[in-house]
């Protein structure tokens, strides 16, 4: 029987039945592959990521330009052709993928103690199996778990999540409402322009959102990426909701890491 979603809008629930500040289910595993130094599998809702980390290992220098006493971090993202709704050939030089990997590279560089491994390379391989929103956040979280498994020293966890905003500013100015196609959202914006936590793929297409990544329990923002337009006044509460979401993501990842650590100690 299909789920009756007609009352969702009355109860201010989202399309998938969550409240505005609820995360999707996060499931994570560490050490999934034996052949690499560190690996992880992460699900955030229907976004599923496999991450493998090799290194720190002797790197093959490309071009000879040394980065002077720090380890190089290589991030490679491969998006499976079947991961989205419509099948896409993954272009090698996709700018979006390049930007994702660059963002992860920069973020990871700030948290890892790369100065201990000068001249070596840490390569992070990320495979996107299915994507349903919060792609960058899921990639960052998966990379963090795999790096913990690989035993690369880091200052703290890097965890990320997305936050969006149901703006009704567009409708108040008489502009066409982009959310009108989604009944659950269109009724929401009559109430107020609420911030939303952890957007799924459908919401991401319709609403402005940002991805925020924080370092550990502190509220230190390491990553903040927004690709859509939003009114500047909305930004502050979106960021606040995002940072709060990161804390909850962190507590989930924390329990996963602790479980794994216990198992490691018991076995070895």
């Amino acid at each position: 029987m299909p789920l009756d979603t007609s009352s969702y809008s009355l109860a201010l629930l989202r399309l998938d039945g969550r409240r505005w500040n609820e995360l999707r289910r996060i499931h994570a595993q560490i050490s999934t592959q034996a052949a690499v130094d560190g690996s992880s599998y992460l699900e955030m809702g229907n976004t599923k990521i496999i991450c493998t980390v090799t290194g720190p290992a002797e790197g093959r220098r490309v071009g000879g330009g040394g980065s002077g006493g720090e380890a190089t971090i290589q991030v490679e993202i491969s998006v499976a052709g079947f991961s989205g709704v419509d099948r896409k050939k993954s272009g090698r030089g996709d700018r979006r993928i390049f930007e994702l990997s660059y963002t992860i590279e920069q973020a990871v560089q700030t948290t890892l103690h790369t100065q201990n491994y000068s001249g070596s390379t840490i390569s992070i391989n990320l495979h996107v199996l299915t994507q349903d929103g919060s792609l960058l956040a899921a990639l960052i979280n998966a990379a963090t778990l795999a790096l913990i498994d690989a035993g690369v020293p880091m200052s703290d966890y890097l965890c990320a999540c997305t936050a969006g905003s149901t703006t009704n500013t567009a409708s108040s100015k008489g502009a066409p409402r982009p959310q009108a196609a989604l009944p659950g959202l269109s009724s929401l914006d009559e109430e107020a322009d609420d911030p939303l936590l952890d957007l799924n793929g459908l919401e991401e297409q319709e609403l402005p959102f940002l991805t925020v990544g924080t370092l550990g329990a502190s509220e230190k923002v390491v990553v903040c990426i927004m690709e859509t337009r939003v009114q500047a006044t909305r930004l502050e509460e979106m960021l606040a909701v995002g940072v709060d979401g990161c804390k909850r993501v962190r507590s989930i990842m924390d329990s996963v890491v602790r479980d794994h650590g216990k198992r490691m100690v018991d076995e070895g």
Binding site: G151, P153, G216
Partner: protein, 190 residues
């Protein structure tokens, strides 16, 4: 306050006034913080005994044993080439490796004497188990092994007929069923 027995990255362990930061830790505003996942360990500072004990985080030892030079290993021959034999290292200093490590046995490392007269097919056959010693860490291709010395060489061999063999001399083994002799660089039984 005693530091926690088990630490995760970013976890505050102790104040730097009571301990000194060791491997696997870092300092954040005079607090020793873990940078690895693993059990914590405090040791006395042996260099300056009067200072605070060193607090460190060790990775649990279920990570594969890393061979070093002069480590004795057991390996299975996987391929014979003209000048070198490739093999999979399966046991590193009496610990079974969870994943075989690649090794290379060059013909000049097979025996200590008459190095240039070594013919690899007269010393090994693919599938033989050898006892060897690591002589170099090598590169991406694998560890360099050596069987120079009496106690190194083939320890388990199978004849062309597929039967197990027993050593009869330092360079010959005999099929335990058919009695046919084959050439090997045999390890001295210990």
């Amino acid at each position: 306050m005693a530091p926690p027995s088990f630490a995760i990255p970013g976890q505050t362990l102790a104040a730097s006034s009571k301990y000194s930061p060791g491997p696997g830790t870092h300092l954040i505003s005079s607090q020793i913080t873990s940078s690895l996942l693993g059990p914590s360990d405090s040791k006395k500072n042996t260099i300056t005994p009067k200072s605070t004990p060193i607090l460190s985080i060790q990775r649990p030892s279920n990570s594969p044993p890393q061979p070093s030079v002069n480590t004795q290993v057991y390996a299975r021959i996987t391929r014979l080439e003209r000048l070198q034999a490739r093999c999979d290292i399966v046991v590193v200093s009496d610990i079974v490796a969870p994943l075989p490590l690649r090794g290379i046995l060059r013909s000049q490392d097979v025996r200590a004497t008459e190095k240039d007269k070594v013919k690899l097919p007269e010393c090994f056959v693919v599938g033989d188990i050898i006892r060897a010693v690591i002589v170099g860490l090598g590169d991406q291709q694998g560890y360099y092994l050596s069987t120079a010395g009496n106690e190194f060489g083939v320890v388990m061999a199978w004849s062309e007929a597929g039967n197990g063999c027993v050593p009869v001399s330092w360079k010959e083994v005999r099929d335990s069923v058919t009695g046919v002799k084959e050439l090997r660089k045999v390890a001295k039984p210990i």
